[in-house]
Symmetry: C2
Subunit: 463 residues, 2 copies
Amino acid sequence: MKVATHNLRCTECGAVITGDAVNSIFRCPDCNGLYDVIYPWSPNGTTAISNSNLPNPSALRWLWQERRTSTLPIDQSGVWRFRDLFPIVENPENIVTLREGNTPLYQMPQCAKAVGLDSLFAKHQGMNPTGSFKDTGMTAALSVAADRKFEWVACASTGNTSAAMAAYAARAGLRSIVFIPEGKIAWGKLSQSMDYGALTIQLKTDFDGCVRILTELVTRFPIYLLNSVNPYRLEGQKTPAFEMLEQLDWEVPDHIIVPGGNLANGAALGKGFIEMHHLGLIPRMPKISIIQAEGANPLYRWFTDANRIMRPVKADTRATAIRIGNPASWRKSANVIDALGGWCEQASEQEIALAKAQIGAEGVGCEPASAVTFAGLKKLVALGKVSPEERVVLILTGHTLKDSQYTIDYHRGELLTEAEKSQISDADQAQHTALRKPPIVLEADSDVVLHALQSHMKMTQHA
Amino acid sequence: MKVATHNLRCTECGAVITGDAVNSIFRCPDCNGLYDVIYPWSPNGTTAISNSNLPNPSALRWLWQERRTSTLPIDQSGVWRFRDLFPIVENPENIVTLREGNTPLYQMPQCAKAVGLDSLFAKHQGMNPTGSFKDTGMTAALSVAADRKFEWVACASTGNTSAAMAAYAARAGLRSIVFIPEGKIAWGKLSQSMDYGALTIQLKTDFDGCVRILTELVTRFPIYLLNSVNPYRLEGQKTPAFEMLEQLDWEVPDHIIVPGGNLANGAALGKGFIEMHHLGLIPRMPKISIIQAEGANPLYRWFTDANRIMRPVKADTRATAIRIGNPASWRKSANVIDALGGWCEQASEQEIALAKAQIGAEGVGCEPASAVTFAGLKKLVALGKVSPEERVVLILTGHTLKDSQYTIDYHRGELLTEAEKSQISDADQAQHTALRKPPIVLEADSDVVLHALQSHMKMTQHA
């Protein structure tokens, strides 16, 4: 007899169903809420489980470490290495992996100093195979699609989600469709999904219209929906929390700072920490704060609204990966902030640009959306919400190569508008000036070059 | 008393010097040849060493595996994990790492089938932190620069080398300078080095002029030269050979296929295999074949020239990472082909484009230069130089995000000239047609979309 390894629970009304019983749009038929995946051992799980049946923390830690020496693809994956805490696939042979995860946790000494912290870490999810954190979720959800014998998968996205979906679909031998609005097509954002063989369909409507058509399609045809409403994506996206703790030798950080766009990522990491705490893997939980761009800040508005009402906004920011005005997973992230503590902050375009340049100058680099974390951290420190001795981890979500044009425009001095530049404080302006590195043109003469280096850069000659 | 851990040997005249004695341009003062790093245990090493002093193969394999469970940064690095075989840094605290290496070895079932092999692997060096294999070399050479107390580093490069140098220099707290020719600046290629804080100097000369000025500068000022003549870069670049063998459970592959540009990479991998064989880590060596673009094929010409004379060419190919007409390290690669066996082949622009699309359609992706490996493999199979049961590993050197524009132009049908298109065989044309995925525009109506999917894609409806 098949044993159900997991259930789905509506995050709005609490209704619980089996994984098999979910509809193709991953919405609660009663209240339209999104689902979370729950297990017999989950906090507030529905199946009674005695303590003796809880996964053993020491055994898990040992097992996860041992798998790092294995050459099996699912052990080499930094997501599936933790598969004991998300048994969502019936047949492990259906797991689709590109060796995602295993992302570095960098010390950020210069950024720490700039913001007045003793130390600062960055967990760089942009080092995943397609260059963003979406891979950790897609490996999970695509494996479920393969496990359930789907041949087609689809999402409405122009960016990192479509790139990740296309790569994992190709890997699994499934066919993938990307729906985008017609109009001025952003080819750069599509290059990866085309490279990985996805079919792109431009619909004569806006983004919400694309989501509507896709929703209709998946109810009529066996197309597996991979938009962020798919709860299995979050099961993969919670694993960086486990990996981070391993990298910190299981010493719990004080504060995790996450960029906020569609708001599934903070929710997934929060779920990971809550589960680890419940299972006794960690003795306490970190705070999780979420930072949004000023131009796409519905959660920030909700957080600072006395009545706590969520109102969608018209999104506008150069941090395209978080340019979302009506985030699907806002409730999940709101629940995490409430459960773990933490704050919601926002960052302006110039603050994002400066933070990105500072992260780049550490040799790390990231896409603009990732830089809101550091921009937000500066505010949290200034407000006294983060103190100097706290251990803070920034979640960098995308690789700097995801948006080369932003970097180019910044260093050419063509990124910010005059209005934006006029809002820059003197202190920030000094940093922009030090960090901007436009090319300089010199005669092809070593004396000229030496002179330039000596006068501008205080280089000292050989003794 | 300080024990010298390594020496340098001229690859042209064989002269041996200590690492400390090398000049700042890394050229033999007698014959202008390039150096290789050698150790007491090296094949043909200069210091007599008894067998009992050779590093023990079983102990090394065990040690390298154990380090994978460590949280120490130099153990987490897929390069420094193998540091026992390149003791080039005096003080390990000076090692500069971004957790490079640990790159995936992918099975490529669709490409294998397309070329008639039983199986095929791709070692994806584009999954390194800055998106190319250059990181494995830069972590080594930058660590030497830091170890020797340099404050400035420099290279002449517009592409992957400058990106890697800038990132590692920033990480080490050193300042980096990128020299490029003045003229129509390729901003895209510079975006990463600017992001990582490098200073870009455009000189009023051509690329050779940049190299000349840089060579003058490093003899007059304490600037550490990081062009590919630096022999320490190759010590890092040999480590993917070790990692690959680990991933294959120490079963030696039959054939490694490497893109050929400046030709240091094939040389470095060959050095790794030769050293492993000499130490008893592997019982035999793979062949190494090097593939060049038709428009930048000096090694191919040398290889097919009865007199074996190296003649520089004027390079022209869209595979920019290997667009090099006068490769600095050609002799080293030629020696490796002679020592290990293997061939040199070339690939046309349309063959490269097709191979890149095929690698992309496996969900893997790569920059154009990496795709020459698969294009060349097809020829080696057709010529009977690779047989169906052989275990072949393609070395993919760069991430697909390194050249998004190439991918976009390909799928828009704007990459190849009419002359290039006219040379495509019918068989290749059928594959191009199947792989090209230009977006299609449809009405925002699910019936219209379903009809399109059913008629064009043979999708079958829910039963």
